[in-house]
């Protein structure tokens, strides 16, 4: 069914743009927060206790969601010297499918064990912020695992997305 295929492709494109956009904004946010904290400390003589932990939380979110988007555009480091040597097209395809399956396994593990991690840390709070639960930070693991699973599934069924070739 070409229309279902098209809809899935569009949905994944949107998801990729969301993850990438969120990660890019997180990087800008981190920069501004740290620069601001330096400014307040040296010129206003005020320490901002919240700056460091918030910037680090953003870094964790940026890492997991950014990495998922990076996977869809083929931006991760990988080594294709061996698979390029594979003789016939069928074996080449089989190796690619195997990689997609392995990434799906990792996505599933991130969902499953990441959820476990969120559960066990849900009732801990940060010393700096009594309102923020430690488990909230770890939600990036299962959520980005789900995104990675969806992207890997797309690759397995529909092949590499059209945008993947542009990434160097």
């Amino acid at each position: 069914m070409p229309s279902t295929k098209h809809a899935y492709l569009r949905a994944m494109e949107l998801l990729q743009a969301l993850c990438m956009g969120f990660a890019a904004l997180a990087i800008i946010g981190m920069t501004l927060i740290i620069a601001w904290s330096v400014y307040t400390r040296y010129w206003l003589n005020l320490g901002s206790f919240w700056a460091e932990p918030i910037a680090i939380m953003l870094a964790v979110q940026m890492t997991f969601f950014g990495a998922a988007a990076c996977y869809r555009v083929g931006g991760h480091i990988s080594i294709d010297v061996v698979t390029r040597l594979l003789p016939d097209n069928g074996m080449h395809r089989a190796a690619e499918r195997l990689v997609d399956l392995l990434v799906m396994v990792l996505g599933l593990a991130m969902i499953w064990y990441g959820t476990g991690l969120v559960r066990t840390t849900w009732f801990q709070v940060y010393p700096e912020f009594q309102q923020i639960r430690v488990g909230l930070v770890y939600t990036a693991v299962p959520l980005s695992g789900l995104v990675t699973l969806l992207f890997a599934g797309e690759r397995l069924v529909l092949g590499a997305p059209p945008s993947a070739g542009e990434a160097v």
Binding site: M30, V38, M62, A67, I79, A109
Partner: protein, 430 residues
């Protein structure tokens, strides 16, 4: 823990998956996961380590350095550094080759990435060199080998990755200082080589830049180069941490590019941010899953066993350093820098400590060594980018790489066996 099978699953599994083209970061995660399940520790620990691995203030310097470098590159710093280098070395025989090398040395102080250097300086220099009759492959080789200076010349985000992989026992300020002399040595050695080759092939020399223009050029480049002074000065002076000075450098780079150089285009910003995010997320997820991997290695005492193994081969420092250098050169031919730093440092650093090598010194040796790996085939990110910009075939460039490779190898050996080259400057401060 895990007997012999655990380490085989962890390390064998990793290499098997890398060989079939699984992204290295995910291969690290999967190998750790399989090992954790096999030796019976909760697999949640793998996810915990991956997330806590990037939950670290010092690592925030990585996105900031990459962003500052990208803003500077987009904002027209490369042309100014090329002009600046031209003032100093353009008039010598083979001047453009030397300008290329010196500009990379300056650019290294701003970006710290060999690929970024090759694409910024290379896209200006390679066409210019080709127009003046320099051989295509020569132009690309000069560009890619000199771009590796940026990895060791401070500030460098790879130095931060090493400090992190060394378990926080190595000071970033000391690593930055230790990179200065070896970084300049790479540049000087390459300039000597390119001079010899240029004289032999009769490559042209440029004109001496008139004084007035020279002063104007220096003033223009100075604003950009002040970024380096902010970062390195702030870190070494103990005023800022590396992370804080990197954040300030981003703001500063933005102000210079937007208001002094006026070359930053708003519509180019989203594209630039996507590139920055890709680079940063790729490196950070590697760090995350490499932390899970290192945790399992330590749990199964693999680093201690590897140290024991090396010491049974020889307890001679010279031999062990040579063996490790050769091993890293071979690994570097196939794998990129960041994953190798993250995988090899926890394994090799105990060996180095056992034979009395300073961790700061070893860090510089490793960065220099893996920098060579970026330009050697079959897999070399910088090599590929350089060939794409120069529109030259990879095999042609690779065939003519050897004099450059040999020059870098000689510098590597000098830095390996004369620790003072790296350590003299940090010892002046600490």
């Amino acid at each position: 823990m895990g007997g012999a099978v655990g380490p085989i699953i962890l390390i064998g599994g990793l290499f098997l998956m890398i060989l079939i083209n699984v992204p290295v970061a995910y291969a690290l995660g999967l190998a750790s996961l399989a090992t954790a399940l096999y030796i019976g520790i909760p697999a949640e620990a793998v996810m915990l380590k991956a997330s806590d691995g990037v939950d670290n203030f010092a690592l925030l310097a990585i996105p900031f350095f990459v962003l500052a470098g990208a803003i500077m590159a987009q904002g027209g710093i490369a042309v100014r550094l090329v002009n600046l280098a031209n003032v100093f070395v353009g008039f010598i025989r083979g001047g453009l080759a030397m300008v290329n090398i010196l500009a990379s040395m300056f650019f290294g102080g701003i970006s710290g990435s060999s690929v970024a250097d090759t694409s910024s300086i290379g896209s200006i220099m390679i066409p210019m060199m080709k127009r003046q009759g320099y051989d295509d492959a020569f132009s690309v080789n000069v560009t890619i080998t000199s771009s590796t200076q940026g990895i060791i010349i401070p500030p460098s985000h790879n130095a931060i990755i090493y400090a992190y992989a060394a378990g926080g026992t190595v000071s970033i300020a000391q690593l930055f200082l230790a990179g200065i002399v070896p970084g300049v040595m790479v540049g000087v050695a390459l300039m000597i080589l390119s001079y010899i080759l240029s004289v032999r092939r009769g490559y042209p020399k440029g004109e001496l830049v008139p004084l007035g223009e020279a002063v104007r050029t220096m003033a223009g480049a100075f604003l950009g180069l002040l970024t380096v002074v902010i970062i390195v000065g702030g870190v070494i002076g103990g005023i800022f941490t590396a992370t804080e000075s990197a954040a300030i450098a981003v703001i500063y780079a933005f102000l210079v590019a937007a208001f002094a150089y006026r070359e930053l285009r708003w519509r180019e910003m989203p594209g630039m941010m996507v590139e920055v995010t890709k680079t940063v997320a790729m490196v950070m997820i590697l760090i995350g899953f490499a932390s899970s991997f290192a945790y399992l290695m330590t749990l199964m005492q693999i680093p201690a066993k590897v140290t024991g193994f090396f010491l049974t081969i020889s307890d001679n420092r010279i031999v062990i350093l040579l063996l490790i250098n050769l091993m890293l050169l071979v690994l570097g031919m196939f794998m990129d820098m960041a994953p190798l730093i993250l995988i090899c440092t926890p394994i090799l650093l105990p060996v180095m400590k056992a034979i009395g090598v300073d961790p700061v010194h070893f860090g510089i040796v490793m960065l220099l060594n893996l920098g060579i790996g970026l330009v050697t085939p079959p897999v070399g990110t910088t090599l590929f980018v350089g060939c794409a910009i120069g529109k030259v075939r990879v095999d042609e460039v690779a065939r003519k790489l050897w004099p450059f490779w040999l020059t870098m190898f000689i510098v590597l050996m000098l830095v390996t066996y004369i620790p003072e080259l790296a350590l003299a400057i940090p010892h002046m401060f600490y």
